[in-house]
Symmetry: D2
Subunit: 341 residues, 4 copies
């Protein structure tokens, strides 16, 4: 079978994750070129995974005739442009989320994908998590009956620096965007209305920078189900990642993963493992699996598992949540979809 | 030590529960008289627990000089009137919730309690549940740090008849009222704002009767914490009762109770017990404990554990939630408090 | 329906337990007389549960024509004699375990039961535990296939005084006797061979008194299944009571009971409840249930749930285990059965 | 840092496991040559992991001057000979277990290791399991106090063919050998006496071939602690691997690993994941970790984590168990150690 030749734009943390997945876990693909505006980062990644070519200009990848697919792992503001140029050059694209912070750019990217016929997958890796994926399959197969409630808890172990929090687009676009996508994935349909409650309880400097660090957002789904997401930027006990779907026939709920199943019984009580602390530890398998499915979709044909619609709607919900928080009222998704050109 | 002589008004299900608690578990008290407009019910309860006197008019209890305390277990519309007459006659009162569906009556009841100096406890039994109580104590003791998020899941095993649902005051006053009280109990303070999302997903006749059977309500607490409650009138797997408090130092969360701890491992999977199905099975111990603490407060002096403020605020939140659902906007608690005379 | 009139011989801890069960939980029975060689104890028990008559001579119960059934809760050496006299006087008997420390006395008790036709139940309350009972039913119903392995863990929270340990007959007769009965209950048949490993690891004075405080005993069952019991006189974390049955189709295993289902997540780890510490706390429901079934068997006819065969075989296994430990070899149950007259 | 050049003798399942560990997870080592008497197997393994040289004669590895260390993954009867020749040729050795079925050969292997000063590690991978390793560390650090009881449950998902069972040396040498090593690892010392109970309950043909498929073995440790292992060749629910250490200060116990943490609540009950079914799935991480530590011990110096003493004692216990079963009596380890030259 043909091997897929992949180029990686961006040699930061997520670029390294994908390089590792392909090198060690996906024999059907290989990384042939990596670029980063930081030459040292590109060179280091190339050395680490035995990648034959590296550079500082992503156009080296776009123009490389042996490259079949491009992984866009650069900073968010460059995603759409690189994805568009790659598709126009006949490359399939795997694009990290968010695709862009403006709906216009995301829509343009979608248009180019349609015009060129190139595959375009968005990097919502959590859909490929063993726990969340199991819950979704149970819901999709009807084992839970008609879906009525979707609940997601997502809490980071430590808050980002106030500077990062300010520049990242805020909690809804930077952190809860994963949960918006997960909510629609679990419910099996889009969201029609959003109401957001938020506060700065973790670090006052986050509040001073105009953002929140704690939030509860309720959702109304197209199919009539209701949903709720809670986020905190800091959970003292680690990375808290749980989902629950409740339907007419029952409920599926996932607990966190720990390092071991060991319980220690002493006079002081019974102690067990905290949730895995770091997102790479918790979600590494899901990063491998999303890449495996991207490679398969390109090599064997068929739909990518996470298309540009998910890329668009997750940003729309984040914007609706921000507007709801600002205006202290529920916001219809259509307001955002129609409000931005 | 003196024994407390108790009279019970109302020989329905909850009257029987309290008679059983006192007879079998609280040696410091005894039931000396029971009344019910249904003579047969009063007589049956008296026979079941060896109570010496029964009748059909609650004034027999109010006027009985040997009665020290009255348990008001009659239908909701009669609660306030009976409580007031009992207190004016010098009896301490344990009153089932809701105290009344109007704020005016609840306030009047509070006034009479203050004027007469009688004890007045409201029957929010879930505060005395082993699981919820443990979570609350951990929060109150500071083991979780500053409280930031409160989450409550409360789902009934089976929906009521549409007739009952219509006449009961609706989901917020009939069912979620427990969770409103629990939320304030767990957070350690009152709520300032409510937003309600609701739908009729379980039984369309409930929707036709103008009520919802599925709801998510978000809460803003006085101390800045955020909260969320989800309710469903029907959980296929039983009575789902869970609370979670998340704070700056950690989280406490309770699971449901099952009948056994047994797990069965077969080729088909691993099976364990469903949550206890019936509220009396799940909460019987809490009914005993609330009564034990009422008896102790009367005999030994000291505050009752659940006062009239809780009785008022739970009804206020239910009304705020209903208004929020009707007007599709967050409602401030002060609107309700100031809106009703 | 007729009410069963019960007399209790022995007003110690277990006599109080049964008096409480009957008074508060079994309306079909009432305690009409209690005796204890310690007059104060008898009087106190009578006062506590409103029992009309008390005394110091058990013959007052045996001769009381209104007594239908006698609960033998006196010290072990008196069990058989009292049971025999009661049955000869036409009373049904519930006898605490062990029935006697000699096989001869147990056999005589069995003979009298057969001759007189009186009901005779032995007090192996753990068979009525919610967890253990569930496991047994699964095994008996065939849900686990053919039973192949039976495992029992039974550890006390604190060791007895060395004096008690010495006088009680030793760990096998005093403590593991419950587990021997449980093993046969779970396997659904008798044991044919026993091998015992023991040590004094908890308290050297127990070893000096000739007993062990830690033991592992293996069992061969009549149906070919294998079993193992482990005992310790001291578990730092509380009263550890677990059973497991493994068969050709699967396994059923029970965990300990805790006070709550709450887990506390902090930077230090995840903490949950220890097993219930005290045997009355852990097994109170089973004491009620064994008495309820005894009362039912007497009033309605039918077999008692735990007959004298269980009383005999549990003592036989304890003796076989002691002999195995002393002689450092597996001991066949038939050696004990045939060895003692 | 220097890279360790490794040769692999034996291209079967376990040879592939180690090749995969080194290729994908241990950058400090690389496989430079593989041999197998089956040329096709050697070639396939070489191709799969990009190994430059392959052949059918293990002496090609022994004589290869660039090879630093040899992994002995061939059939058991050849282990000792290959290990000895490799060490004599100046290679460090990682040897799969059992090292040999005779004590003489194991002792000779140990002698050669001592004479040549080469590292010699034995492949007891389960010591590196996350759950078992955690329990062992807690015991070794004293968190459980003095160790008093060690319990191991180890059950395979499916029985081997009767032919394999007969030729493999039997359950004690083929299967329980892992548990014997684990028991000494957890207790922190050797075993002095063994008693074995066994039966053929799973497949009568295993019994006809002179072996057992179900066994319980008790152990006495040098430090006075007691232990018990139970094995079955077939657990309907998957691969059951649990250990428990009980000490004067408490207990540590590991549960099985499942694929997810998801629970499904329906009217039928609560369902969760079965234990992982296949040993590679369950223990893959431990295979990587044992190899990582072997590579580190060779490159950086220091003791290998599992030395030849473990290789010897595990076989001794297996032989003692077999003898105990045959002679129906406890067998002292010294009998075996002194009995075989």
């Amino acid at each position: 079978m043909k091997t897929l030749n992949v180029g990686i734009v961006g040699a930061g943390r997520i670029g390294n994750v994908h390089a590792q997945s392909i090198t060690y876990h996906i024999p059907q693909a290989r990384v042939v070129r990596v670029t980063d505006v930081n030459a040292q980062a590109a060179q280091a990644l190339a050395a680490r995974y035995g990648i034959p070519a590296w550079g500082t200009d992503y156009m080296e990848i776009v123009r490389d005739p042996q490259v079949d697919a491009v992984l866009v792992c650069s900073p968010t503001p460059t995603h759409a442009q690189i994805a568009i140029e790659a598709m126009r050059a006949g490359k399939h694209v795997f694009c990290e989320k968010p695709v862009d912070l403006t709906l216009a750019k995301i829509r343009e990217t979608a248009r180019v994908a349609q015009e060129t016929g190139m595959k375009l997958q968005v990097g919502f890796n959590r859909r490929f998590d063993h726990n969340h994926g199991r819950v979704q399959r149970l819901a999709a197969e009807g084992a839970l009956g008609a879906v009525e409630l979707v609940k997601i808890t997502s809490r980071d172990p430590e808050p980002p620096s106030p500077e990062y929090a300010a520049s990242s687009g805020g909690l809804f676009l930077d952190m809860m965007i994963h949960d918006f996508d997960m909510a629609m994935f679990l419910a099996g349909c889009d969201v029609t209305e959003v109401y957001a409650l938020g506060a700065s309880l973790v670090d006052p400097r986050i509040g001073q920078a105009g953002d929140v660090d704690t939030a509860i957002v309720t959702l109304t789904f197209e199919n009539g189900a209701l949903g709720v997401i809670d986020n905190s930027r800091r959970a003292a006990y680690g990375y808290d990642q749980r989902v629950e779907v409740f339907g007419s026939l029952g409920m599926a709920a996932g607990e966190n993963d720990g390092d071991t199943t060991v319980r220690v019984f002493t006079a002081q009580g019974v102690a067990s493992d905290k949730p895995k602390y770091f997102f790479l530890e918790r979600y590494m398998d899901s990063f491998v699996e999303e890449m495996r499915q991207f490679v398969r979709a390109v090599l064997e044909g068929g739909e990518v598992p996470v298309g540009i619609h998910a890329g668009l709607m997750s940003v729309v919900l984040a914007k609706a949540a921000k507007q709801s928080l600002d205006e202290r009222r529920p916001v219809r998704v259509s307001e955002v979809l129609e409000g931005e050109a």
